[in-house]
C-alpha cells in the first residue's frame, strides 16, 4: 500500500493555516468561550468560495450523469457504517429518492465490528459490501488492501481531502464543559491547558491508549506542533492529573452532563450541539480550536456495485448530500457548506482546526500509540 502510505493528504483549507495557528493552539480571544448554538437559518446565509462551489457543482453533475446509468444497472448499494440507523435511513432514503432504481441497504456496527466483518469477508473473497462509511474503520481497511482508490471530483471544497477515499463528513472534537460546574472564565484556554494541575478532579479523560477521540487528538497535536518535547510534556502532564480514564466517549460525556465531572476531554461537537439544543447545561470552549478527523466513504475493492458506491460517495459530498448529513446533525465535510455544525459557524470565522492526518496513526493506531504515547503513559 505504498500509494496509500505516501498519499498526499492535504488539508484544503485548514492545515496550512492550522500550522500558523498561535502557539499552543490557543485562541487570541479567551473571553469568548461560552458558545451559543447558532441557528441553521442564520448560518446558511453565509457564503463559501463561490468559484470553487460552482466548479464542484459542475463536476458533480458530470460525474453523476456518468455513474448513474451504470449504478442503476447494478441496482443495489450495500453500506456498512458506524452511524446511527436513524441517520443512515434518512441519508439512504434521500439518495434513493435522488437516484430511483438503486436500492440502498445498510448494516450498522461499531468500528471494530465493521473492520472485523469487512476484512473477514475480504479475506474470504466475498463481494458482500460496497462502501464503508465511518471514521476510524476506512483507513484500517485500506491498509489491508481492501479499499479501491477513488478520488472525488469535488476535492476542492473539502476541509480534509484524501486522494484514495472521499471525506464525506468530519468528526469535530470540542472542549465541552458542564455550565453548572464551570464558569467560562475558569475554563482551560487550550487543549494543552487541560493538563494544568488546577483541573485535577474536574476532567473526564478519554483513554489515550485506545483508538478513541483523545488518541486522535494527540496524533493531531503531535503533527501540528512538530515538537516532541512539547508533546511528551503534554502527555506527562495529562497523566500527572491522575484522573480516571474512560473507554466509552458517550458514557464519559453523560457523566459530564450529570455533574460527575466538569470538563470533557474531549467531546464530539454534534453530541454537544444536540444536548445544547435540548437545553442541557453543557457548552464548549469556542476559543479552543477543534480537532477534526475525517469520516470517509471507503469503496470496497471487491464491491458488487462499484458505480453505485462511487455515486453515493460523490452524492454525499454534493450540496444535496451534505444537506442530508447536516439534517441528522452530523458535521459536513465541505468548507463552503454552512451549517450550524460547520467549523466557521461553531468556532468563529478564521478558526484554524487541528486536522488528524498522520497515516501511521490512522492505519495502525496501536503501533502509533505504542511508539508515541505508551512510553510516557505506561
Amino acid at each position: 500500500m505504498a500509494v496509500v502510505l505516501f498519499a498526499t493528504i492535504f488539508v484544503a483549507a485548514a492545515a496550512p493555516a492550522a500550522e500558523k495557528a498561535p502557539t499552543n493552539e490557543q485562541s487570541k480571544d479567551a473571553a469568548k468561550p461560552a458558545a451559543k448554538a447558532p441557528s441553521k437559518e442564520q448560518v446558511r446565509k453565509e457564503a463559501g468560495s463561490a468559484s470553487a462551489t460552482a466548479a464542484a457543482a459542475k463536476a458533480f453533475e458530470k460525474v453523476s450523469a456518468e455513474l448513474y446509468p451504470k449504478a442503476k444497472q447494478e441496482g443495489n448499494l450495500i453500506v456498512y457504517s458506524v452511524w446511527d440507523v436513524e441517520h443512515l435511513k434518512v441519508i439512504t432514503d434521500a439518495f434513493m429518492k435522488r437516484y430511483p432504481g438503486i436500492k440502498a441497504t445498510y448494516w450498522q456496527g461499531r468500528n471494530p465490528e465493521i473492520v472485523t466483518r469487512a476484512l473477514t469477508e475480504f479475506q474470504g473473497g466475498q463481494p458482500s459490501w460496497d462502501v464503508v462509511l465511518s471514521d476510524n474503520a476506512p483507513p484500517v481497511i485500506r491498509a489491508a488492501g481492501a479499499i479501491m482508490n477513488y478520488e472525488t471530483v469535488q476535492k476542492d471544497v473539502l476541509y480534509l481531502h484524501d486522494p484514495t477515499m472521499p471525506t464525506v463528513s468530519l468528526q469535530v472534537q470540542a472542549l465541552a464543559y458542564n455550565t453548572k460546574k464551570m464558569k467560562p472564565a475558569d475554563l482551560p484556554k487550550s487543549w494543552e491547558d487541560v493538563a494544568n494541575p488546577k483541573y485535577k478532579g474536574l476532567v473526564a479523560l478519554d483513554d489515550p491508549m485506545r483508538a478513541g477521540p483523545l488518541s486522535s487528538q494527540l496524533s493531531g497535536l503531535k503533527t501540528l506542533w512538530k515538537d516532541d518535547s512539547r508533546f511528551n510534556n503534554f502527555v506527562k502532564a495529562l497523566k500527572a492529573l491522575n484522573v480516571p480514564v474512560h473507554q466509552s466517549t458517550s458514557a464519559m460525556f453523560r457523566l459530564v452532563i450529570s455533574g460527575e465531572y466538569s470538563i470533557c476531554m474531549p467531546a464530539l461537537l454534534h453530541d454537544v450541539f444536540e444536548e445544547m439544543h435540548k437545553g442541557t447545561p453543557v457548552n464548549y470552549n469556542k476559543a479552543v480550536p477543534p480537532v477534526v478527523f475525517p469520516r470517509q466513504a471507503g469503496i470496497y475493492v471487491k464491491a458488487p456495485d462499484p458505480n453505485a458506491a462511487k455515486l453515493f460517495a460523490e452524492w454525499l459530498i454534493s450540496e444535496e448530500g451534505q444537506k442530508a448529513i447536516d439534517s441528522v446533525g452530523r458535521e459536513t465535510s465541505r468548507n463552503d457548506f454552512k451549517s450550524h455544525t460547520s467549523i466557521e459557524a461553531a468556532f468563529g470565522k478564521g478558526t484554524k482546526p487541528i486536522p488528524v492526518t498522520d497515516q501511521n496513526f490512522l492505519e495502525d493506531p496501536k503501533k502509533w500509540l505504542d511508539a508515541n504515547v505508551k512510553p510516557i503513559w505506561g
Binding site: 446511527d84 461499531r110 468500528n111 471494530p112 473492520v115 466483518r117 475480504f122
Partner: protein, 550 residues
Amino acid sequence: MPLVVSAIAAAAIITPVLVVIWRSFTTGRLGFNVGLHLTNYLRVFGDKDIMAMLGNSVVYAGGSALLGTGVGALLAWIVARTNTPGKTLVELLPLYPILMPPIMKNIAWILLLAPRSGILNGMMQQFFGIETPIFNAFSMSGMIWVFGLACVPLGYLFLLPVFLSFDPSLEESAYIAGSKPVHTMLKITFPLAVPAFLSAFVLNFLRGLRSFETPVLQGTPGNIKVFVSRVYDSMALEFNTGLATAYSVVLVALSVITLYFYVRSTRFSERYATITGKGYRVKVIDIGPWKYLTFFLVFIYFLVGIAIPFIVLIVVSMIPYFDYDTFMKFPTNAVLTNYYTVMRHPSFVTGFYNSLVLSVTIALVTVMAGIVMAFTIYRTRASGTKIFEFIGTLPLAFPPLVLSVGLVIIFLGTPLYNSLWALGIGLFVAYFPYAFRNASGSIVNIHKELDEAAWVHGARWRHVFFKITLPILKPSVGGALFYIFIEAIRNVDVAVLLTSPGKEYGPVTLFEYFRVGQWAEAAAGGVIYLVVLIAAVSVAKFAFKMKFSL
C-alpha cells in the same frame, strides 16, 4: 441416537471454536495472512500485566458469581420450601428482574451510585448532610454489586427445580433425629443442592470472566482493569482476531480448571440424587415468624433487582437530561419525546418480530439439545462422553465477538451467510452452555435407579428419555426455556456480526442507543421493552398458568 444428537450439537459448537483457535496460529492483524506462527501466544505469555488483570478478573467474576448464585439459591429456597406469605407474589417477584438486560442495570446503577453525581450520594447529602460520598459505582465492590445482581436469575432458575424436587424423607430423618430447621437446612438441604449450585456458580463465574460492559463502564473509571479488556483491545485497537483468540485461550484454560473442579466435586453424582423411585410430595417448611423476614428479603431483592433501577430508567427516559437536581424535579419536568423517537425507529417492528421468532425457536432447540447431551453423559453407557462436558461449556469461555468471527468464517460463501439461519446457529452456540449446564445439574439429581428400572425391563433410550427423564426435568426445562428466550431476545454481542443488511434483529438496533450514548432514548426503549416483557410474563403466569419452573 442421543449420542448422534450430542455429536451434532458438539460439532456445531466446536467448529467455530476450532476455526478461531486455528486462526490464532495463522493470522495476525486482520487482512494479513502470516502463515503458521506463535507470535500471538508469545505476546500473550510475555504480557507483564496479565497476572494482575487475571487477579482482578477472578475477584470480580468470583465475587459476582458468589453473590448472584447465593442470593438466587436463597430466593429459590424461600419460594420452594418455606411458608412465606403471599405465595403468588413471592413466586413472581424474583422473576421480573430477569427481564432487565444487564446493560440497563449498569446504566441505572451508575446513575444511582456515582460518587459525585449519583442519586443515592445526592440524597445522603441533601437529607442527612453527609458530604463525603458513601457509594462508588466505579469500584470493585460497585462492579460486583451490579454484575452480581445480573447473576441472581441464573442461580434462582437453576436451584428452584432442585428445591422443588427434594425427597422430604431426607429432611424428615433429620427432624426425627432432633435437628432444628436451620440446622437441617444447612446440613441436609443445601449440601444436596451443591451440584446445581456449582453449575450455576460455574456459569456465572465464566460469564463474569468474559463480561465486558461492567468493566468498561465501571471498572475503567476506577482504574480496575480486567483480563477481558485485553481481548477487546486486540480486536478494537489492533484488529487482530488471532491475538484476541490467543488471549481468549487463557480464559479457556481458566474455564477448564473451573470445570475440572466442578466435575471432580460432582463425580459421585449419586450422592446428590434427590429424586428417587419413591413417591413423595415436596414438604413446605413452617419457618414461624421468620416467614416475614423471608418475605422482606424477597421484596428487597425485587426492589434492588428491578424496581429501583426501573424507576431510575423511567425517570431518565422522561426528563430533559440527567443530573441530580433535574432528577429530583420529576415529574414536573416530564416529556415524552424519547418515546416518540424510539417508536419511530426504522427497525423497531421488523427487528422485534425477527428477534421474537428466533428467540422462541432457539430456546426450544437449545434446551432440547442441552438435555440430550446431559442425558448422553450421565445416563448412557457410551464411552468418552465426558468430552461433551467440556465442549458444551466451551462457548462461555470465548468473548462473543471472538466467537462470532469463527461463525462468520464458517458461513462465508454458503447460502446461510447473511440469513437469519446463521444468526440462529450463532445464538444456539452462544446459549447452549446454559441449557446444557442447567440440564446436567438437574439430571445429576435424578437417581439412576429410575432409569435402571426401565433398562432392566427392556426399555430403549427413547422410552427412558421421553417417559422418565424429560417429565421429571419439566420444571427445569421451563426455567431454561424462559431464561434462554430472554437472553436471546436481548442479545447484541453475538448477533451484531451475524445480522445483515436489510435483516434487522431488534435488540441490535434498539440497544445501539446505549452504545452511541443516547441514554435517554435507550432508557425509553428499555422501558418499552420491559413493559412488554413484564406484561407477557404476567399474562403467561396468570392467564395461561405457565410455570417458569415454579
